[in-house]
Symmetry: C2
Subunit: 636 residues, 2 copies
């Protein structure tokens, strides 16, 4: 009896929980169980497509067809209720597209009656998990890792990882790096590789390849070689052997992601070898390991490097200084992976000039989904408008792929803040089609995740669209950057300076406020960071009169009394932006609290509401601390 009762209790809990706790993400499909799905072929992937449609498609029948005359990518064609694709994965993506567009009052880009074809812009659409093997996540704000941790956790996670795979497949993501770029050497030990194999087996039917971050000194750290010098033969041999082991376990293993000679990580520089020496050695090893599998492995080599060979140089210039001379020296299967901005995922940065300067080596853009510097999982900040800005400056056609630093953890709703799910969703949608507007993605996500009620969708789309600029306003308007509190990057510390820290970690280094003004002179008269941009952009940024005002203090040291384009002084303008940012958080919360409750189930409404209340407070702290500090320099 006692057992029965507690079973009942657990069932009730489960029902309540599965009701609306955000765990279902944007996949809140209602079973229809009526469609007859015809396929010419079966396979694990096609079966998933078939099952999803059989269960959720609210129509009589769907036909899945392979067509090898179509372009050889993950794309699909939908014509009525027939989905055609070159690859099996295309059928899966087509199935999710059909379901997405069939949602009641869907705001679909294509009317379902008309045939349309959709192909991904990028071959590589990856998540990067900064998950450590102990289960913690660097810059993770939604609980511990879904992949790593103690044995118990791992066993429990099989279902979770399937859900993870399905969610990613539904938005077109086709690869995932399972561990932190600050990688543990243990990652490549056999017990962990067997774990990777297990995960890969779950992800494979969903067309998701696994990749691993590696520690460049792994063989030495594991005491299997005496050095990690990439030109040392024992080292190269070790990597080849390791690659073979990996491909035996995971024949479609995607490749390595490497953070080398960056923020204390080992790398080829430790042996006076170049990044190319290091990357090429790994590329060769992977090629050798993959031989016979048909897989073409890649090395994603991160350009996030500073404080090494170009120590002392303006930090935002160091990536180009480091990699430009090596452009052309990499193996064809090495890709340089660069953060969207030259510094570090700030609320607003200019694009990284690496995308202008590296022309002979394939490039990947690293975007950050987890909101390290944008309120983490406590602020409602929709990132797609920021990425939209990026793709206006950096032509997507010049990129081989995009990687998104994930915001996923063990919290029931995956992302901590229900609205942070939108950033995961938007990343996937933009990775498929970077020309989609942030607004249309927001609408789509709101509809799928909450309700299609037009009043709700309209109101919340507007708030989401405004949210990132609001965050810039209350944190770091007009091109200010990196004035966060040390280490945890939450809250303001504009007066931050620690003698025992690298200067480039100190806020005062970035804003350079003094009696004369504020901002970092990166013009041709300053550090000439502008000189790293393509000429027309360099000219624009170099001239204080043409530099976009939202990047003004990024590129110029500007007098407090400087007249902005609208005639207000810089100091007035700073105050204006900070205040407007705070007012937005109050306005947004007022809307959510009093106008949106009716549209949202209790739990999710409440959880968002609490966070918005906190966001208001944090925004006020930002404004008050920054204006007080900067104001102390201004002669009134």
């Amino acid at each position: 009896m006692k057992k029965l009762l507690s079973l009942l209790f657990i069932t009730c809990l489960a029902l309540t929980a599965s009701a609306e706790d955000g765990h279902q993400l944007w996949l809140r499909l209602q079973p229809a169980n009526k469609a007859k799905v015809t396929t010419e072929k079966t396979s694990a992937t096609i079966n998933i497509a078939k099952q999803e449609l059989e269960k959720y498609y609210n129509g009589e029948q769907v036909t899945l067809k392979l067509d090898n005359t179509m372009a050889d990518d993950d794309g699909y064609r939908i014509s009525g209720t027939t989905i055609t694709a070159r690859r099996e994965a295309g059928l899966l993506y087509g199935a999710y597209a059909l379901l997405r567009n069939a949602q009641p009052s869907a705001i679909s880009p294509q009317p379902s009656a008309i045939a349309y074809e959709s192909h991904p812009a990028f071959e590589l659409r990856l998540l990067n998990h900064w998950d450590n093997l102990d289960g913690t996540i660097e810059r993770g704000y939604a609980g511990k890792s879904i992949f790593w941790g103690n044995e118990e956790l791992r066993l429990k996670n099989e279902e979770l990882i399937t859900e993870y795979a399905r969610a990613n497949a539904s938005i077109g993501i086709n690869g995932t790096v399972l561990n932190n770029v600050n990688a543990s050497p243990k990652m490549l030990t056999t017990p962990y590789l067997k774990e990777v194999q297990r995960i890969a087996n779950i992800l494979r039917p969903y067309n998701i390849r696994v990749y691993l971050s590696i520690n460049f000194a792994t063989p030495m750290a594991l005491k299997e070689t005496k050095t990690a010098d990439p030109l040392d033969k024992t080292v190269a041999k070790w990597w080849q052997k390791k690659a073979k082991e990996i491909y035996k376990l995971i024949p479609d293993f995607g490749g390595f992601l490497v953070k080398a000679n960056s923020e204390g990580q080992p790398g080829p520089g430790d042996y006076k070898r170049s990044h190319a020496d290091g990357a090429n050695m790994l590329a060769d090893a992977l090629n050798a390991g993959a031989k016979g599998t048909g897989t073409q492995p890649i090395v994603m080599w991160r350009c996030f490097v500073y404080g090494a060979n170009h120590k002392g140089e303006d930090r935002v210039k160091q990536a180009v200084s480091e990699f430009k001379p090596l452009d052309g020296a990499f193996r064809p299967n090495v890709i340089l992976q660069t953060k969207n901005g030259p510094l570090d995922f700030q609320p607003r940065e200019p694009y990284s000039p690496v995308f202008d300067q590296i022309t002979k080596t394939p490039n990947m853009a690293e975007l950050q989904i987890t909101q390290e510097y944008l309120g983490q999982s406590r602020h409602l900040v929709y990132l797609a408008p920021m990425w939209e800005e990026f793709f206006k400056d950096v032509n997507p056609q010049k990129l081989k792929g995009v990687a998104g630093v994930a915001n996923i953890g063990l919290e029931r709703n995956w992302c901590g803040h229900h609205f942070s799910q939108a950033n995961w969703y938007a990343f996937g949608r933009l990775a498929w089609n970077p020309l989609m507007t942030a607004e249309s993605i927001a609408k789509e996500w709101l509809l799928l995740t909450f309700t299609g009620n037009p009043q709700f969708v309209r109101t919340m789309t507007q708030l989401m669209m405004e949210s990132r600029e609001a965050c810039v306003n209350y944190m770091m308007p007009l091109g200010l950057h990196h004035i966060f509190k040390f280490d945890h990057h939450y809250g303001p510390e504009p007066n931050g300076f620690k003698a025992n820290y690298p200067l480039e970690w100190c806020p005062v280094y970035y804003h350079k406020a003094d009696k004369n003004g504020i901002g970092f002179d990166r013009s041709s008269k300053g550090t000439d960071a502008v000189g790293q941009y393509r000429p027309e952009v360099a000219r624009l940024y170099d001239n204080i009169k043409t530099c976009p005002e939202n990047l003004l203090l990024w590129f110029h040291h500007v007098p407090w009394t400087y007249r902005m384009k609208d005639g207000s002084t810089l100091w007035e303008s700073l105050q204006y932006h900070y205040n407007e940012g705070v007012l937005w958080t109050e306005h947004a919360h007022n809307i959510w609290h009093n106008k949106m409750r009716q549209y949202v189930d209790k739990q999710r409404w409440q959880e968002v509401d609490w966070r918005m209340e906190h966001q208001e407070k944090n925004a006020r702290e930002w404004r008050d601390v920054c204006l007080k500090y900067f104001g102390s320099f201004v002669e009134q």
Copy 2:
């Protein structure tokens, strides 16, 4: 030497003062002194038009022509630089129009190159001054009276009254009631009438007629009759004699404004006579007095009557109850003057049903320029959008005229708040053309009063346009009304109840908040105030589903959990509106403080800035007090 120094000091003061202290209102014309002005005739009025153009028109020549084929009103035609009019006054109005439209970057409705004709919609375009003879002003928030007070004041005011006349002429106002509707019997004594004569002489060339408010019991109060019964012959005779005296002094005297049997004022009701008996007696007396002057006098009889014959009835119904039976019983030169709303100049009211019910007697609308219930001279609240709303409900063609309760006092800037000048200006412009949009008037006023800078005009036009709705939001959203602090009508007192006050002065009478809900049931199931409206409007207001939500609590007692059209509950919606109102004041102040300083001279900027800071605080007080009080009824 001492004299010289103090003269210098005074000159400097005068220069500084005349520089930009708001005293020049919207007439900040720069002398050009170049136009040759041709007229066929001279007169005091034509001379003013001529002088204004000679001094300020920045062109070679202007021709002023009278044309008796034009419509017989105050209108004018402008064709190039020729102004033509039927009346001399038309030439004056045409001259100001030419100057207004010639302002740099003027936002003029008509391009000056093309001929256009403009005629006033109303024959009567009056200001009402609620000025007492001791110099105080009822509901005046800008210092003491410019007309009345001690002898010294009066002597000093001759120049001021000329400036007043010019300002009014420049916007088309053609009449003014010089004293409070709560009138002193002394007003009609000979010494005061001689004062009125002096004022009339100053105003006359500017085409402004004087009118007086009278105390209905004047002859009795002056102990010249034993009664004030309008049907008593000695009384009627007294008024005839008095009228003669007036017309001897002021041959174009406009007539009387009467508040009778209202809020303690005497009236015909004291003798069981009707309002018609009283009004007709005065109309006859004025006609007799004006005989031979060519003047057609009027009596403006106010419908603002409650607590008398219909005591106990819903206050907003009493005017119709009182006057409807008398419709048709008045002399042709009696006009009923009715406030725009049925209660008393609230931030938002429905229109007064008097305008639907009184069809045989001429009507005048009484609008309030002084912001008694809209933040007085401390809040930036632009009233034209409210009047625009009124003219959408009440067809201007059905009105004989409009009266605006003035906001003018001895303060250097006339109105206390620099932006309150806009309400005086807008009243004048709408009195000429009620179809002008509030937005175009705001633009015009900003341009003339501050600067034509497009950024300034655009930004401040938007704030002005939003300001009245913001005031409704932070004071009394969704049809709430009269929950002001007693007597001074500033600040909130929703719990207001005083046993020794008339119930209709107590806030609790108006909001009727209880555990079940809030609002005054004036539907057909309640007091049936809706029944006084024309049928299509009555139906609209009567049904809670079709009643405009911004009047909901005016007409209905509504449960706290009632679902608004957007699905939020009433209580949520109330909170939403109060919060948005407060946020607007903060937003508006942020813009003024940080973005508008550059466009505005120091003194005016500072004086507005202080007031906006205060407005924020007062708005917060409104929100906090009201939500706390109403919240105490709501089961959470």
